[in-house]
């Protein structure tokens, strides 16, 4: 064993109560760190799964036609004008090719071929705006589990059927089996039968979205061949950006990952993450201050001993190393105990609350906690260690 390590260990063991308190302090700080990480990350995961779990992870849309920069005569300023065509909405005409490309991507768990447009639904004197989503009946639940959300009727989507949200049905005063008049933004009108009501718990969906058969949508939105979007669901939601980039590169279409579509969610998660980071920072500062002050006291108490060591030619580096090692040992032992305590605490809390508190013991960032707490302890030991190594032996011996 290295002799400086032996001396450091002996010093820690000689004052067991102080060492235990120090290690306990680090352990508690690390427990707070890991619990905070497990809670913040668990909450973020919970929110993501709630929001993203039932929606598209990658959405492919037609490429937006960018205006070309017109060549200008010498001396003239360039003028760029952009106007989207009003004649026909942008569409994905080559969707069969795109679908075959999607089939080659690993981790894709669902694909939905959609025509999306706006319209108005009327029942008697009531008229409300809705988003009409044309989907293949077999893929109705490919993205969101609409099948599971049906509260009345059956999830059958024939060409004359429509599925609407429970809230919309209430607003219109309509029930399953009754006809509903729908007009698309292309001026096409159809009377469809309400086949089922669903309730997802998301108000914007339950009151504003209506599912129709893809073929019905083709007619209503005047799109005999193309699609307006393709939705993709992935096994790993965090692979969405890479998949989106790959699809955009290979198809030339616009492919957007969920995190880039959900600005608000991202901001909320970032805000949550920042508050978590501040708490973590304070736990590290606690470790830093606690270890530094305790080791400074130890340094002061051991001044005569350090003076004696220096008197028989023990180098400054050896003394420095003894105190740095004490800091490192406190940090490492404390953070290992803290990680175990944090994991146990999160596990107990998760099982006690029956999953109501979104604490995920697996997301406690134990590696970061270990590394940062040990680093904080070593940094904290630096000052006392330097002070110890610079003790004047003559002064210290005569103390």
């Amino acid at each position: 064993m290295r002799f400086d390590l032996k001396v450091a260990l002996r010093y820690l063991l000689s004052n067991r109560l102080q060492s235990a308190l120090l290690i306990g302090g680090v352990a508690i700080a690390v427990t707070v760190f890991t619990f905070n990480a497990a809670l913040i990350n668990g909450l973020a995961e919970f929110q993501i799964q709630r929001v993203v779990g039932n929606s598209s992870h990658v959405t492919i849309e037609p490429e937006k036609a960018l205006p070309a920069v017109a060549a200008a005569a010498d001396g003239a300023e360039r003028l760029v004008a952009s106007q989207r065509t009003l004649e026909r909405r942008p569409q994905i005409k080559q969707w069969r090719t795109v679908e075959s490309i999607i089939d080659t991507i690993p981790g894709v768990t669902g694909v939905s071929l959609n025509i999306l447009g706006t319209g108005l639904v009327s029942r008697g004197q009531q008229t409300l705006p809705v988003t009409l989503k044309g989907v293949e009946p077999s893929r109705l639940s490919a993205i969101a589990p609409i099948d599971d959300a049906i509260v009345e009727g059956e999830a059958r989507l024939g060409i004359n059927d429509v599925l609407i949200g429970k809230k919309l049905a209430t607003d219109l005063g309509i029930r399953v089996g009754q006809p509903i008049f729908i007009a698309s933004d292309q001026g096409r009108e159809r009377t469809l039968t309400v086949r089922a009501l669903y309730s997802t718990g998301v108000d914007s969906l339950d009151s504003r979205l209506a599912f129709v058969n893809l073929d019905t949508a083709r007619v209503m939105f005047d799109l005999p061949e193309g699609l307006t979007e393709i939705e993709i669901k992935l096994a790993d939601i965090y692979a969405a950006r890479a998949v989106a980039r790959q699809l955009a590169d290979t198809t030339g279409l616009e492919a957007t990952a969920w995190m880039d579509k959900n600005q608000r969610l991202r901001e909320a998660l970032e805000g949550q993450g920042s508050s978590g980071s501040i708490i973590k920072m304070f736990t590290l500062i606690t470790i830093l201050v606690g270890v530094a002050s305790a080791l400074l006291l130890t340094t002061f108490r051991r001044r005569p001993e350090i003076g004696i060591m220096r008197s028989f030619g023990i180098s400054e580096n050896f003394v420095l190393s003894v105190f740095m090692l004490q800091g490192a040992l406190i940090g490492i032992i404390g953070s290992v105990i803290g990680c175990l305590m944090g994991f146990g605490f999160c596990l107990a809390l998760a099982s006690l609350t029956g999953g109501k508190l979104p604490v995920d013991p697996a997301l406690g960032q134990y590696d970061s906690a270990l590394l940062l707490a040990a680093a904080a302890s070593i940094i904290a030991a630096l000052w006392p260690a330097r002070a110890a190594s610079r003790i004047d032996p003559v002064e210290a011996i005569s103390q």
Partner: protein, 285 residues
């Protein structure tokens, strides 16, 4: 080999006009006002003087724990005032041993570990050779059966004997002892002094003892008196024995790096009071 060469070979420490001034705010206190003296290899010298005369300051300077304000001192032919902290630390570790009035053992370590510390701290670990030497030294000071006792469990006399063993761990050329018996009763003081004397005779290690105890000082080979920061009386230079055979043996053994094992030669060189031959030599000289 002429007398000059012999003097150079047997000289251990040469102090020339060493001064020390302490400055506290605007006040200057001159503690040492030009100390000059020499120590030969293997002698035991007592340094006497009233409290505040500068003995402890001089010991700190000779032990390289403190730098003089001016003057020079050489040990083993090396000018020590020009060395940096790291070099001084290394030199101190290998050539100088300290014995303090209050033993100053490290309380969290055993007697064996205390003795071993100067060696293990230098090489970075406890070696088998180091442990054997520490055990041998503890055996020599009569504490073989207390080797694994914590320092706190030893009596005052035992602690000072451990401190003597620790001072000898790295086979130093010079042991500086600051009131080594000052904290012991008469019996233990005598035992500690006799132990140092025996070791000095056996190993040829030079001892410089700062003491108020005139009785012990009389038992040393030479005495230096310091008052108000200067040497006021006593023999400031050693009487060099001129027995060529003994000197040659001592010098050869010291050069080979084992001064503590030199017995016969070193004794003949330094034991001027106990040897008829050397006294006769001295008279002839």
């Amino acid at each position: 080999m002429n007398a000059m060469d012999l003097a150079t070979l047997t000289s251990l420490l040469d102090v020339r006009d060493v001064r020390k001034v302490f400055v506290d705010n605007e006040f200057e206190t001159q503690v040492l006002k030009g100390i000059t003296f020499s120590l030969a290899r293997g002698e035991m010298v007592a340094m006497l003087g009233p409290s505040g005369s500068g003995k402890s300051t001089l010991l700190s300077i000779l032990g390289t724990l403190m730098k003089p304000t001016s003057g020079s001192f050489q040990m083993l032919g090396k000018e020590l005032t020009t060395l940096n902290e790291k070099e001084l630390s290394q030199f101190r570790n290998q050539q100088i041993g300290f014995i303090f009035q209050y033993h100053h053992l490290l309380p969290d370590f055993t007697a064996l570990e205390n003795v071993l510390f100067p060696h293990a701290g230098r090489v970075g670990r406890e070696t088998r050779e180091g442990r054997e030497r520490a055990a041998m030294l503890l055996d020599r000071v009569g504490l073989k059966d207390r080797m694994n006792y914590r320092a706190t469990r030893l009596s005052g006399g035992q602690k000072q004997r451990v401190a003597i063993a620790r001072a000898l761990m790295n086979q130093p050329a010079l042991v500086l002892a600051d009131e080594p018996t000052g904290n012991l009763d008469r019996e233990n003081a005598d035992q500690a002094f006799e132990l140092m004397q025996e070791i000095q005779r056996e190993t040829g290690t030079t001892f410089l003892l700062s003491t108020h105890d005139r009785e012990l000082a009389e038992r040393c080979e030479r005495r230096i008196y310091i008052r108000n920061g200067v040497v006021v009386e006593g023999e400031s230079t050693p009487v060099v024995a001129t027995k060529p055979a003994a000197l040659a043996e001592a010098v050869a053994a010291t050069a080979a790096g084992t001064p503590w094992r030199v017995i016969g030669g070193a004794n003949a060189m330094v034991d001027r009071t106990g040897s008829t031959d050397t006294n006769e030599d001295r008279r002839r000289a």
